[in-house]
Symmetry: C2
Subunit: 359 residues, 2 copies
C-alpha cells in the first residue's frame, strides 16, 4: 500500500517533532501545529493507519506515537529536507580541512571531532581495510636485536612493526630477508599467502630459521587483522545527554560496541563509495545496537574503500544535519587527497597511508 501525500506529511511531522523533543508525539500537538488544517481526530485516524502499516508505534496506550526503524528509513530516504550548514558550522569544518595536516588519519580524526562538535553526537573515524595487496616491503635496522618492518600496499597504505628478536641479526641478513619478502610476497593479498608461499620464503631464508618464522608471523599479522587501533571514537559522553541513553543498560550496549572495534570494520562493509549511509537501530542485522543510529561516509582511495568517518547517536538523531555535515566533509576531503592522486596517477601515488597505519 502506497503512502498518500497526507500520510507522508504527517509521518514527516511526527518524526521531525520526535527528533527535536524526544517525546512521543500526539495527534493534538500535530493538529495545533497549524500546517495541517485538520482536526486531531482525523490525524488520529491517519496515525492509526501509519501504525498498522508499520511506520509508527506507541510505547503504551495513552502515549503519543514514536517512529519505528521503518519509519525512520522512509524519512531518511525520501522525506527529510536538505539541511544547510550555518556559518559557524561551516567555519568549524573549514578550519579542520584547511589545517595543514599531512596525514589523512589525523585529518579524519579532527574532522570527526569537529562533526561531533556541530552535531553533538559521538563520532568515529576508521582507517584501513584488511585485503591489501602488498606493493613492497622495506626494513630499517634498529639494533642487533630489533628492526622495523614496513609494508607498503598497492593502495598507498603503510603499516609497520617494530620487531624484537631473541637472537642478533646483521644488516646483511635483514637485507636478504627484505629481498626474499619482496620476491615472494609482492602482489599478493592476505588470503593468497598459502603454505607454498611460506615454504618458498623459508627456503630462501633457511640458514636463519627462527628469524624467518618471526618475520612471517609479523607479516601475517600485518596483513590479516583489521587494525583495531585505527578506529577512533570521540565524544561518547555527548550521548549521555540524551534521555534514551540515561538507561544504564542501553548505554552499556552502545559502549560495548565501542569496545569491540572490529565490529566497525564489519559495519563498514555496507559502505557504498561516495555515498553517506544510514543504519537505523538493528534494522537489518545485529550490527548496531537497538535505539541507536549510525551515519557514515566511506573514504575511498583509488575506488577502494579504505576507511570511513561517521556519527553514532540515538535513533532519533538529526539525520539531515548529520548527513549534511558528513557530505560536506567528504566532498572537501576529495579535494584534499585528490591532487596527490592526480599528480602521480601511474604510480598510484600514496594519497594517504599516514602513520596510524603503522602499529
Amino acid at each position: 500500500m502506497e503512502l498518500s501525500e497526507r500520510k507522508k506529511a504527517i509521518l514527516k511531522s511526527v518524526i521531525d517533532s520526535y527528533i527535536r523533543t524526544g517525546d512521543p508525539v500526539g495527534s493534538k500537538s500535530l493538529a495545533e501545529n497549524e500546517q495541517f488544517s485538520l482536526s486531531s481526530a482525523t490525524i488520529r485516524s491517519e496515525m492509526n493507519d501509519l501504525e498498522s502499516m508499520g511506520y509508527l508505534e506507541q510505547p503504551h496506550t495513552s502515549a503519543g506515537r514514536v517512529p519505528t526503524p521503518q519509519g525512520y528509513r522512509t524519512y531518511v530516504d525520501s522525506l527529510m529536507e536538505k539541511y544547510f550548514l550555518g556559518m559557524e558550522e561551516l567555519e568549524v569544518l573549514d578550519e579542520v580541512m584547511s589545517g595543514k595536516l599531512n596525514e589523512v588519519g589525523k585529518l579524519m580524526d579532527e574532522a570527526a571531532k569537529a562533526i561531533g562538535q556541530i552535531t553533538n553526537y559521538a563520532t568515529f573515524s576508521f582507517l584501513g581495510g584488511n585485503s591489501n595487496i602488498v606493493d613492497r616491503f622495506e626494513t630499517v635496522f634498529v639494533d642487533d636485536y630489533s628492526f622495523l618492518l614496513i609494508m607498503i600496499c598497492k593502495d598507498g597504505l603503510i603499516r609497520n612493526r617494530h620487531v624484537k628478536l631473541m637472537d642478533p641479526i646483521t644488516r646483511e641478513t635483514l637485507e636478504r630477508a627484505k629481498e626474499a619478502l619482496n620476491a615472494t610476497l609482492t602482489g599478493l593479498s592476505a588470503d593468497q599467502i598459502n603454505l607454498s608461499v611460506i615454504l618458498d620464503f623459508e627456503e630462501k631464508m633457511k640458514d636463519s630459521r627462527n628469524f624467518a618464522t618471526t618475520v612471517l608471523r609479523v607479516v601475517h599479522e600485518m596483513l590479516g587483522s583489521y587494525d583495531q587501533e585505527k578506529v577512533h571514537i570521540d565524544g561518547v559522553t555527548k550521548l549521555l545527554s540524551y534521555p534514551e541513553f540515561m538507561n544504564v543498560a542501553k548505554f552499556q550496549s552502545v559502549l560495548s560496541l565501542f569496545e569491540q572495534r572490529q565490529r566497525f570494520a564489519e559495519l563498514m562493509q555496507k559502505a557504498v563509495p561516495g555515498q553517506t549511509s544510514v543504519v537505523i537501530g538493528n534494522e537489518d542485522d545485529e550490527l548496531a545496537p537497538p535505539d541507536t543510529g549510525f551515519v557514515f561516509h566511506p573514504i575511498t582511495v583509488g575506488g577502494k574503500v579504505v576507511g570511513a568517518i561517521g556519527v553514532i547517536g540515538p535513533q532519533r538523531m538529526d539525520y539531515k544535519k548529520v548527513v549534511a555535515s558528513l557530505d560536506y566533509f567528504a566532498k572537501g576531503l576529495v579535494g584534499q587527497i585528490g591532487p596527490a592522486e592526480g599528480k602521480d596517477q601511474l604510480k598510484g601515488a600514496s594519497p594517504d597511508g599516514n602513520g596510524k597505519d603503522s602499529e
Copy 2:
C-alpha cells in the same frame, strides 16, 4: 592524634566490608562480625571518633559509615593485607606474559585486558613520554610525493610518520635531509631544539625550503606531543556494573577523563619507578574524578618512565587485589624486557619501541 590499634582494626573492618558490599557499614553489623568482642555501642563511639578524625563519614544521619579518601589512604598505605593471586588468576596473567608478543605495547595492552578480567575494573595501558632524546633518524622513500620518517630515541622508543608532500622529492634529497637531521638533531631532546638548531637545519637544506619546513614540522610534532593514541583503555563497560557509576553524572565524569587522554600523561608524572601508586578520588589535585580510584604501575626502561599500566575503578575498589595483579605483571615484565637490555647494554638495545609509537 595517633590511631589506637583498636581504631585501626575497626577502620580496616569498615573499609573491607564497604569494598565488598558497597553499602555503608553500621556499628551493629561490625559488632556481630565476631572478631571484635565489643558491643555495637562501643564500636559506635569509636566510629564517631574516626569520623571526627576524618577517616569516615556518614551519607546521612541514619546510615552507616563510609570511608573518606583519607580513610582509604591509610588503608592502602598501612592497613590492608597482602592479596595472593589464585591459580586461575595467575594462569590468566601468565598466559599473556608467555605469549610471544614481539612488541611491548601489545604486551601491555593484553596484560591490561587480563588484569581487567581478573579484577573486573577498567584498565589502561600507556606508552611513551615526551622528553625523548633523539638517537637517530631514518627515512624510507615511499613514492615521489611521500616518505616515511622514523625517529629512533635513545631509550629505544621508535616513532614514525608517513609524510605527504605537495612537491615531488628525489631519493637523493631525502637522503640528504636524513643526514642533515642526524647532523643537527642527534642527542637533543624536544626542549633543546631552538631557533639556532632550526636555522642550522634549514641552512643545510636551503635549496628545498618547503620540504625542510614540512620535515621540521613533523619532527617537532613527533618530539613534542604526548601521543594520545598510545593510551589504551579497556573495559569501561565493567564500571557500569558498580552502583556508584549508575548515576549518570558520575559516570560522565569518568568517561570525560577517558576522552582527555593527555590527562593520563599528567597523572603518570606522579609515578614512582618500580612502585605501584594509588590515587584515591580527587585526594590531592583535580587529576582524578571524585569517587574513583586509580592504581598504576610505571614501566621503566633504563631508569626512565616510559609508560604505565593501571586500573581505574570505583573509589571502593579492591585495592589489595589490584595492587597484587599489577605487581605481579610488572615483576614479570622486567623479566621480559630485561634480556634484550642485558644482551646489548652498550648499545642500549631497544627493549621496546613497538609500532604503536608510530602514529
